[in-house]
């Protein structure tokens, strides 16, 4: 898609608003919600998929599906968990498709993780990203939600479509796998 300037966007927005299509949120509410959640969601998608370009695509798709979903949200937390649930389902769909028609090899996948600013690539960060690629997608999702976002077991369950009671055990197993991978990379603690 070509690069758009802010003036282009404003003009297109004006044209679009003349014949708005029914989405499940008005623009002002969406912008406020987006500003609160987009960075967190992008970080989640980027670390769970291990691919920043894919994360950008999935970010757009997640918000689109969120806007089209006909749901009554009880609270901000519910709305946010629904957003993460859509994102997690998209990630899972992506992994399922890739398993059927593998287009990116494991080495390329790790390579895409390295395509980031050098300042960000601390040794520990690189080790973690490498280890994360060797985990199952669900384990990555669990660990990121629990320890990067500080989500409660209930929030994780809602975001991933799992039972709250099973989170503790799943998290324990995911943590164990990641810890052993990191220790294999020389992480003492």
């Amino acid at each position: 898609m070509r690069n758009l300037t802010l003036a282009d966007i404003e003009q297109l927005r004006a044209e679009t608003s003349q014949s708005d299509v029914a989405l499940e949120m008005d623009e002002e509410a969406f912008r406020a919600f987006y500003d609160r959640t987009a960075r967190i969601l992008r970080a989640y998608l980027s670390r769970v998929t291990g691919d920043s370009h894919l994360a950008d695509d999935l970010l757009q798709e997640t918000y689109y599906r969120f806007l089209r979903a006909r749901s009554d949200y009880e609270s901000e937390a519910h709305r946010r968990n629904s957003l993460f649930r859509i994102a997690s389902n998209l990630v899972r769909d992506h992994h399922r498709r890739r398993r059927i028609t593998p287009v990116v090899s494991a080495a390329e996948h790790e390579g895409s993780l390295a395509d980031r600013p050098a300042a960000v690539q601390t040794e520990r960060g690189a080790d973690l990203r490498r280890a994360m690629t060797r985990l199952r997608p669900r384990d990555r999702e669990l660990l990121w939600l629990a320890y990067a976002q500080g989500s409660s077991h209930r929030e994780i369950a809602e975001s991933l479509g799992l039972k709250t009671g099973s989170i503790k055990l799943l998290l324990f197993r995911a943590r164990r796998r990641l810890a052993s991978l990191l220790r294999g990379n020389g992480h003492a603690n």
Binding site: V21, Y34, A43, S46, Q60, A148, F172, A179
Partner: protein
């Protein structure tokens, strides 16, 4: 195998407060060294927290107005596609009905078609010997040699098309 520990939250609090590992209570440090559950936490959680901090330094997300606009465009396209679906279905049904009706009427229409074909053949047989005479007459009048048969066929074929364009432009 133990899947949880009563000191799990203490370990998480120490990590979150930045006390782990250097400023951590020695007793908790000893516990973490001895407990598998807490040791895993001490290995995994600081690494993920660092990665989260690194994630914030990455390029900004697209503007909300751009995401909103793209969603609007896509929703409109989907609405248009959804609206066109019944029209396409009706057209397909109409074509199917037309084909079915044609096939059903074929036995009744066949004698008439044969009759029309015979009439056309008779006309051809009558016209062909006279075509040379008509052509010579045209040559005589206009001074140009016109191949009359292809000209007549082309006129018959093109006339409806030209008529259509003439009428639609109006």
């Amino acid at each position: 195998m133990r899947t949880d520990c009563t000191r799990e939250q203490d370990a998480l609090d120490a990590i979150a407060a930045g006390r782990w590992p250097d400023r951590c209570d020695p007793e908790l440090r000893d516990h973490i060294a001895a407990c598998g559950v807490c040791r895993d936490i001490a290995t995994v959680v600081p690494a993920i927290a660092d990665e989260r901090d690194a994630a914030w330094e990455e390029p900004a997300v697209p503007a909300s107005s751009l995401v909103w606009w793209r969603a609007q465009i896509r929703a409109r396209e989907e609405a248009a596609r959804a609206a066109a679906r019944p029209i396409a279905a009706v057209q397909a049904i109409a074509v199917a009905c037309l084909i079915a009706a044609t096939l059903a009427l074929m036995p009744f229409a066949l004698p008439s078609v044969k009759g029309a074909a015979a009439l056309a053949a008779d006309f051809g047989a009558w016209f062909t010997p006279r075509a040379a005479a008509v052509s010579s007459a045209v040559t005589l009048v206009t001074g140009m040699a016109v191949p009359i048969l292809p000209f007549a066929v082309a006129s018959i074929l093109l006339a409806p098309i030209l008529l259509y364009y003439a009428l639609t432009e109006e």
